[in-house]
């Protein structure tokens, strides 16, 4: 195994297990579609709330996608092969998260313009929402991968993972929705986006190392 063959295999595996990606996407669409029906479908309410609605749906969809990230690898012995391959487990984690991120976030961005129309989000703000998703979701995936690695050997690890991970999602959601709100008020939003990018960079740097340590501990 080498890094290239691993990434290719991971990508192919995600393509063949389409239901996982579709579940996250479907969940995202359903939350955004049903929310106005349950609260208030008027433009006066939805337009200011759109950023928050989109970001909460995004965070929950990402959680759905990352929860079982290592489960199959744990069950079929792939994680043992990672540990004995002589390759860097940290980099294998990075490649896995990268593949998952591409597979979940790209379709989500594709459907976002349509959903933004439903939420009366102005086109000028849509680009900021998309940018915030591009900059913020890597943090969600990388942080989520630590929780998934920590709980991979537990039979009912999903709840524990939520408890571990959700508090760490809060800053990302706050700064992302802050950027969207600033854009809606025609204020400067580059600061919030810069902080989002910084959080993602920190997560990208630290979380593969922490997830690799967690995997080693879980497989033991």
């Amino acid at each position: 195994m080498n890094y290239r063959s691993y990434f290719k295999a991971e990508w192919m595996s995600l393509l063949r297990r389409k239901q996982d990606t579709l579940n996250a996407l479907l969940f995202f669409v359903m939350v955004i579609t049903l929310f106005p029906l349950g609260v208030d479908p008027s433009a006066d309410f939805l337009a200011p709330a759109a950023g928050g609605i989109i970001w909460c749906a995004t965070a929950l969809s990402v959680l759905m996608a990352v929860e079982g990230m290592y489960k199959e690898d744990y069950n079929d012995g792939s994680l043992e092969q990672w540990l004995t391959s002589g390759l860097s487990v940290t980099f294998l984690v990075f490649l896995k998260v990268l593949a998952q991120w591409l597979m979940v976030v790209l379709p989500l961005l594709l459907v976002l313009p349509l959903l933004a129309q439903m939420l009366f989000l102005p086109m000028s703000v849509l680009s900021v929402v998309m940018l915030s998703i591009l900059l913020g979701t890597p943090a969600l995936f990388f942080i989520g991968s630590i929780g998934a690695a920590l709980t991979v050997s537990l039979r009912r690890g999903a709840v524990l993972m939520l408890l571990l991970i959700l508090p760490l999602y809060i800053p990302v959601i706050i700064f992302a929705t802050g950027a969207v709100r600033a854009a809606q008020m025609e204020m400067v939003y580059s600061g919030q986006l810069a902080i989002l990018a910084a959080i993602s960079l920190v997560a990208l740097t630290l979380s593969p190392v922490m997830a690799a340590i967690s995997i080693r501990a879980s497989v033991n």
Partner: protein
Amino acid sequence: MNLQLKNLWIERGERDLCRDLSFSVLNGELIRIAGENGAGKSSLIKAILGWVHLEAGNLEFNGEDVTQHRDMLLQCQLYLGHTPGIKSVFTALENLRLYCPQASEEALEFALDQVQLGAFVDTPAAQLSAGQKRRIALARLWLTDKALWFLDEPFTALDVKGVDALEQRMSDHLSSGGAIVITTHQPLLSLAPKVIELVA
């Protein structure tokens, strides 16, 4: 190649799996780790490979301390465990290609042929039996150039043909100067193993 294990002490919970265990693995040697279920055979292999904690003892590979230079050992070995990392969404050929990306298509098909999977090259692993999945993993043994093999119960779920093919491949590997550490209940008398007996 010279793997030296000196005074190993491995603990699982409150129980000692082994204490003061010493042996060496040299070129052309087959080490059979024997013992009852739960005696710690798999844990011993995992401890050598570094993901089960050693309470005490020294591991040296070609004169270097393995705890300091783990990568050196990992680069030279092939490990096949109880669950050998076969992806059910991939075909037999794709699974093998994942682990042996440098091998040509002909070589991959040849290896699958050696484990009697020639007719299942393009069959998804999800549609194969447990024994056939294990054979996909074992096909790696026909493609690898690693000198040291760690095989954890490789005969599980194999039929007679599979066992014969694997024994022949192991014999060829030992003849060419390779070494094997294996956990199995098979005596493997024809391969004249050095036996390490663990007590449960």
